[in-house]
Symmetry: C2
Subunit: 473 residues, 2 copies
């Protein structure tokens, strides 16, 4: 087991744990937006029926998992957990939300009353954010009454499916980039709020910075960005534009050199900033060839420490193809915010166990042909060989108690479930900017632990198989 | 020209026009969130340089266009225009935003002062929301000073790229579904805020309803949804679950019949609700075959008016494949919210003209190899044959004045640009719920006008070519 691996349940539960919602979390009441209507109508329809027939109070376990990885992918990356917790904290039905439901006669009076007092008082465990996952991995487990757990389905899935899709793609990019920084610049190719989540998820997967200012503000991420072609075109000529940028931002700035002619652009850039020019950016053309030419030109001009940033429709394959080119960092846009061909994870939120008439918890599962699932409360562990290398994803069933504190007894198993919410109290250490930092460390360690083949970009099977382990009752 | 086509500039500009921001638009000050940091850092870096060297006040024209359609698509659909206008209204730098920029030393004092007073006072014209577009179509034109226009790049593109990607996919689905309603159920497969925009964009492209409650509340869309498999599994058996749902929601409800065995499920559904059962939903399996079997069974049971809703990983191709099956409506999830293989539109925001040193407006364009663009202020028209069928997308240049009121003089041309913002005043008729209704009407008429081949789902060229027309100066 790799020495860098923090214990999967770190940060540990303790009396000092900040079991509160961080100040930055949106909540209603203080004018912050409620997340309660980010919900599919059928959840409230089911709630009404269950409140009427008395099943609403049945203790339930819902599980989030993906049936498969996108075609050819070797692993997935859990991301969005911290955001999901923030969103659950803001899941409150205030006057506006209730007025809408009432006006539209969406649900009956009893259901409205229940929603008015809604607080999630159940417990949630799951994979630590940043952890790798595989087909069938039970990445999140939500326990509580049917009523309190069923209404979170859409919100939890929206967050995890998008953020994990981005992180899963981003991890392949940082892997391909090896030690060169990847910078997230894709905001314009995603919904404006999704863009903020994408910058955050990319950071979980090792991106070094983002162009998105809201992501910088909200999650403390480093932000980057200097100029677009518009800045050069605004000015009477390229010399004037470069001189203006250097005057305003100093010679350490990054000059975009491909508006007119790259060779002339590089020449003018060094003339404007001197050999201490921070970087040049190439945003079009045949990047491997251009990078070699520009590096040689910069060196000839004495700008040997001037870096080269490239940023034209890069994905993990383009990054890998630039490995031998003298490039210093990668600006990645469209492909990272759209999951590089897999814009959602396909995670589902399924009822896997519920209290029966006699009060005992029973496994349940859809039985008909397709889309069947495995019933029963489950946790997971990763089995490791003597070198600490991952061998199998082990889905553990047969538990007869809630799993907030489960740790495997076998030494070759690393437990994957950490407590996220305990009886309604959200562990705020997973949220906010600090949560992103913890998640990025977890991802780095988790990816490092995978078999070498896991980092290949070519299509293949999941890096490790998923197997089942039934605990002796 | 089709009789149903409203004038492209309708609703017409008039003295009574509500040139104000609607009450539902988020704004700062009233505790509503600012959109100002949904911005790439380089826009503020450029702003600082331009304020310092005096070019910030140069009059500029920025243009939004897509270089190409996703591979094989015949047309694209402009969506998000109303949302973009709402977002521009909320583009204000309040104390929190300024404090962040100042704390991080992102820009200098002069720039902070400019941002504190920022209001967009320029003008925007563009394609009416819902209009079809083609490669090179100048779908939006933003005129103002460099300073006020450059900072809107990311926000405008985020909105248009995502919403148009969804609407472009959704239009193929409603086209394939012909007269059967398509229902949007994909919230769980998209970022939670993107999901709301997706429901709205799907409505623009003709979807009849959405499962997303926030979209229902915000845009007045019809919402739909009854029960998931969890509801059946919660109960002791399927009979109890169906009886509970019928008791709570009446026999007109939709029962999900594929949790255990579809044939038994249908039998129990009719037993629970009677032959007046509203609908059954099939969410898995071989849908064309199942639909035929279930229809026959329902008819045998006397439930001849009970409808069949299908909802398992449908996209436009699956919908087309169900054309001959006895299906009454389509629930569409993943594929609509992720743009059915094209999750973003690739629209760009380019400076195409700017005031030179002598005060005249000059066309500008990136000149180096790839990603070059056509300079100059442009509008567009669609040329139509005698039957009102679209023949060409005509990009018109050579205008020597701002384009808020441009109408082609030739009878075979339908002007495509409508005024959206006039000297800072947003036309609120394009925003809110009313804007969605207008956009849906526009889309229906615009799609109807395309050549027949445009609606084929197979890969092909754009339905009409894009040509240029230079007005005599």
């Amino acid at each position: 087991m790799s020495a860098e691996l923090p214990s999967p349940s770190a940060p540990a539960l303790s009396g000092e744990a900040p079991w509160t919602v961080p100040a930055s979390t949106p909540r209603t009441g203080a004018g912050r937006p409620s997340t309660a209507l980010h919900t599919d109508r059928y959840e409230l329809t089911m709630l009404q029926g269950a409140l009427a027939d008395g099943t609403a109070d049945r203790h339930c376990v819902f599980e989030v998992f993906a049936r498969r990885l996108p075609a050819g992918r070797r692993y997935g990356v859990v991301a969005g957990t911290g955001r999901a917790l923030e969103a659950i904290a803001a899941f409150r039905f205030g006057d506006e939300e209730l007025a809408y439901l009432s006006r539209e006669q969406m649900v009956d009076r009893r259901t409205l009353d229940f929603l008015a007092g809604y607080r999630f008082n159940g417990s949630i465990t799951g994979y630590a954010e940043g952890e790798c996952f595989f087909p069938g991995s039970p990445v999140l487990s939500v326990e509580g009454t049917f009523a309190e757990a069923v209404v979170l389905e859409t919100l939890v899935l929206s967050v995890l499916n998008y953020d994990s899709a981005v992180a899963s793609a981003a991890s392949r990019m940082t892997s391909a980039a090896v030690d060169r920084p990847c910078l997230e610049m894709g905001s314009r190719r995603a919904h404006e709020q999704a863009a903020v989540a994408a910058a955050r998820a990319a950071a979980v997967a090792g991106f070094a910075g983002t162009s998105n200012l809201e992501a910088g503000r909200r999650y403390g991420l480093p932000t980057i960005g200097t100029a677009a072609h518009a800045y050069t075109l605004l000015h009477d000529d390229e010399e004037t534009a470069f001189a203006s940028q250097v005057a305003s931002h100093g010679p350490g700035t990054t000059l975009l050199v491909d508006t007119y002619d790259v060779t002339r652009g590089v020449e003018r850039a060094v003339a404007a900033a001197g050999t201490g020019l921070g970087a040049v950016r190439l945003d079009s053309g045949d990047l491997p060839t251009l990078a070699h030419e520009v590096r040689a030109q910069l060196d000839r001009l004495g700008a040997t420490s001037t870096r080269i940033v490239v940023s034209s429709d890069l994905d993990e394959h383009a990054i890998a193809a630039l490995a031998a080119a003298p490039v210093d960092s990668y600006g990645v846009g469209t492909s990272v915010v759209t999951g590089s061909g897999a814009p959602t994870c396909g995670m589902v939120y399924k009822l896997v166990a519920r209290e029966g008439r006699d009060g005992t918890l029973e496994p349940v599962a859809k039985a008909s042909g397709a889309k069947s699932s495995q019933g029963g409360r489950k946790v997971a562990a990763r089995s490791l060989d003597q070198d600490g290398r991952a061998v199998e994803e082990v889905v553990v069933s047969g538990l007869d108690h809630a799993v907030t504190a489960w740790e495997p007894e076998r030494e070759d198993l690393r437990g994957l479930h950490v407590p996220l919410v305990v009886e309604g109290a959200i562990d705020s250490r997973w949220t906010g900017a600090a949560g992103v930092t913890i998640a990025a460390r977890r991802h780095e360690a988790s990816r490092e632990e995978l078999p070498r083949g896991a980092r290949r970009l070519s299509a293949g099977d999941p890096a490790i198989p998923t197997s089942g382990l039934v605990l002796p009752g």
